[in-house]
Symmetry: D2
Subunit: 329 residues, 4 copies
């Protein structure tokens, strides 16, 4: 038992002794979902950063698992305090930069902590437009401290640090897109369980869930411009989706991913998880109505089940490092 | 037992006889959450309407409750079919107009059905911008059939019809807004359970849930321009929120509601339900850090509990008709 | 402007003056979703009450809406404090009793507050069974402080008080039930949009959402035994669902409601909202497989759309008081 | 281009040619969330299996990504059909057994498909008790076809098959448990961001998310009794939680995991993800009320942030194979 282990408190009893041939594997702990909002004021013009920060730490943690001795444990409450204090001390330049500050702190300031993984979700706000020239209301001059939440995709990032090298995997989720034409699906395998009809003009809709890994991994190298990279990658994903004439969602996915790898030299790998949000042509023949896609059709948007297409696209020579599962289903 | 009641099918047994002094009160039935997507094509330019339609019908329905006789029941499956068929037949000019078509059909086409209530949620889509002049990708000319879901507020409407007069209550929900200054809270009641400190510069954030009732109620009168009314009402709500120097969320609510009544002659009544999404200044003093709102502060965004402020604002002389509860909590 | 209204603070500006013909209608405010957990210890045996308490107060509140003057406002933060303090001071005998304590306090202790509405959700916990006679683990004697959350229905109540009389509407939600036979549906209206086939042996499944109003309304009268009433009403609902041979969900609903009114003299009225969770027989004929319900069939459980059947059942002579909408769709 | 690739259909255009140095990495596709309900009848006694089945297939899929050629693609619609047909053909003995049937089918019946991963969620139903001896209602004899959904944990399994060997990882999620005493937390690291007070008698609550890997991997070996294994593992997790005197959630986690490894010879590895659902003692001193845990205290149940404790426990010599992430936060 480690000398640092606190003993002798009256009332402290310990759990069962560790039974036979059992070992502790990978473990991590931290504080999840710290909801940090940082306002920056430039005179009357305010800026907002709205993050959900989750921290997971690993290291020399056998003791606390085996006997409950907490001498190596930085409490998750302290982790939370650190997140909020750093938001004030260092500001939030970008989600990635903020995560790097935090990860470096945890790994370098506490000896038992060997690695840190910071996950951040960012919610985007737009300014509310005011100042109609002809408004007759009091206060209708331009307002620079009022925001409406964008509600489109959630931006994400994950920073991993082991004291030596960095891994930054950024991404987005819940970005719902739809092409109302230029999508076909035919020429597939037919077996005894096939009933699907081939389609030559269908709706293709999905909720983009993407994660991309940056090449940057060392303090020696120049960091990417995180916000610009994000904006560009998002634009490439949207445009590749829109501009691809699709014969399968796999093909569209590949076009989206390869355009990012091709266009962003700072990105080595991207994983996309694309649910096929089925929109079925409704059969209106029983009611004497044609319902052809060419004429502008009516579709039924289904919830479940849905196709789920997932793939990693990477730069030749890069090692695949983003985990396969972006979803649990 | 009504003559229309189907009897004699082998295997049909009936439930318990109606016990003593029990009566049937208000009742309604229908098909909820029909997810209708309608694409309209103008050459290569497509338009999309994406609705979630719920229908509730009432009328002469004693029989089906008391004995299970379905002679007066239009099946909810038929209701669903009707929704999809009408989307093709009549198109979807606006959510309100579509609901009016449906309500009129159900009440006028089936004798036992006396009233119809149609509730619609509408999801908004924006076009994906393509055609960078300098794109080197195939197909990068302007695309007019690709959409990204807005993700901001959900537009709602409720159409009620009894064969004679109409009630249209439109609205929106989940529109999240935030003022990072120009909000105070002080001068309130202090009692033995008071610990709150007065605030002279706080964040005010809420998720706007609004429903407004149109004056229009008769086929004799000219209908409002539903889409334009919606856009204007939304704009007034946002701008009143942004432009009000707030001493309480109640005051902000009243400014939002009264600006709508004052600006939109076609609206007689509006109900607002505004959760006070608390953003608390984090106490960073233990870490030697000041955290004053004037310098750009760090806030903790809390989930629960939250203040909930609700009120109806109406035109003098109008009768309050929107139900009090827009939420169940 | 009320003399109690605080003026003259530097920096305080007020919103726009109230424009023309606008009036304030029904309004209420409070703190929603206070998550209170109360442990009671009887030696080593512990008991748990786990509530989500929402308070809405109304009264003399014109001032705060029109000018932001808070002199009549008991802050929602104080409301929260009161909820927690009362849980300690009075304990939580039942959700209903706790709500009655709170409502009486708010209405009687603050002059501007005229009515209080307390809504409570209760989550049920069961004991974890331990003490296998033959366990070889340390501490494996009977444990009386360990619980697992039931996860079945959420129990609800709503207490309304205006200083004179009480209204108690209790209920439950999210209680999912299914009959795998003894359900038919036929003999309904056929029109041009009908495609549904009649069914003589179908699954009937629903998620019970019920609210019942107690007769009790005066401090003069003896209160019901709230916990026993709840348990009995729940049992009647479940058994009536199970024991009814159903020709329509309306009939089943009526049997459920009327059994409660018939069996519980303390209940005057019940409202049921029953989604028809459709389970469709899957067509397996293309694969050479019969799929008849009589042989034990395979069903597809659909999410949307769903039938939604709602009705109030009441004691003859009682006035209908439970609002029509238990859902927003 | 593969000879199997369908060309020449009028109107088919293809996306951009694959740009430079981009390669396709791991990829998989399938139909997610097939909601299958299977009723089995033994005379008047019915049994129910209620599953949510997700299928992911991998194999020789370069073509469909690069050019949209679907010759190697078994459509996700066919996958769905197969799931429903197999539920009828083979029944659903257990989630694991059903997944094994499906995985074997996909891998062995289609040459391009090399591996299959089947994920299943199972929802549990209990019988509704009827037959009060003294009921006066019609039909109140014992009913054997009426169910109420348990609502406690969701049972999960994942079957992976590559044509040669099997990996079965079963588990559960959303099982919420709470100890109202026998939990302490002290002796931890203090740094400049520490404000937490040590606790000697606190509530310990968590929502158990567990996945365990069975030793079984070959058709040569005897399969575990899946349902019995599940029930026993669940019991061990609950009892270890209840019976551990906890000095940290890590210690409790280790006790839960090691008891499973120690008790179930068929399980080689278990991963637990335990959010620390914080219940804070409410400070009631300002109101003159003591709130000590020893006397039965009032707690505030917080939503976010929360501690998150995760670890793998495995049999000595086993290889860690369950992925680290059971959550995305």
């Amino acid at each position: 038992m480690s000398a640092a282990f606190p003993t002798g408190r009256p009332g402290a009893r310990f759990g069962a002794a560790r039974p036979g041939p059992v070992v502790l594997g990978q473990n991590q702990y931290g504080k999840a979902e710290n909801r940090v909002v940082k306002i920056t004021r430039e005179g009357a013009t305010h800026h907002i950063k709205d993050l959900n920060v989750s921290v997971a730490l690993s290291g020399d943690m056998e003791e606390v698992h085996l006997s409950g001795g907490n001498a190596h444990v930085l409490p998750t409450d302290t982790i939370k305090n650190t997140v909020f204090a750093f938001a004030k001390k260092h500001g939030i330049e970008s989600a990635e930069q903020f995560g790097i500050h935090l990860a470096r702190h945890f790994v370098t300031s506490q000896e038992p902590i060997k690695t840190a993984r910071i996950r951040i979700e960012e919610y985007t706000w737009e300014r509310i437009e005011t100042s109609d020239g002809n408004s007759r209301f009091v206060g209708a001059d331009e307002v620079k401290h009022s925001f409406v939440r964008s509600g489109q995709e959630v931006r994400t990032t994950q920073i991993a640090y082991d004291g030596t090298s960095w891994q930054v995997v950024s991404g987005l989720k819940d970005l719902t897109v739809l092409n109302s034409t230029n999508s076909e699906f035919w020429g597939y395998i037919k077996d005894k369980y096939t009933t699907l009809q081939e389609a030559y003009d269908r709706i293709l809709a999905t909720e983009v869930h993407a994660r991309w890994r940056y090449h940057w991994s060392s303090d020696e190298d120049r960091m990417p411009q995180w916000d610009r990279c994000y904006a560009q990658t998002r634009k490439h994903l949207l445009q590749a989706f829109a501009e691809t004439y699709s014969l399968s969602l796999q093909q569209t996915l590949y076009q989206m991913g390869s355009r990012v790898i091709d266009s962003r030299q700072d990105v080595d790998e991207i994983r996309l998880s694309l649910p096929n949000m089925h929109h079925s042509l409704v059969d209106l023949e029983p009611f004497g109505l044609a319902n052809d896609s060419a004429d502008g059709a009516v579709y039924y948007a289904a919830d479940r089940p849905y196709g789920l297409i997932e793939a990693t696209i990477l730069r030749d020579g890069a090692t695949q490092a983003i985990p396969v599962d972006l979803t649990n289903l």
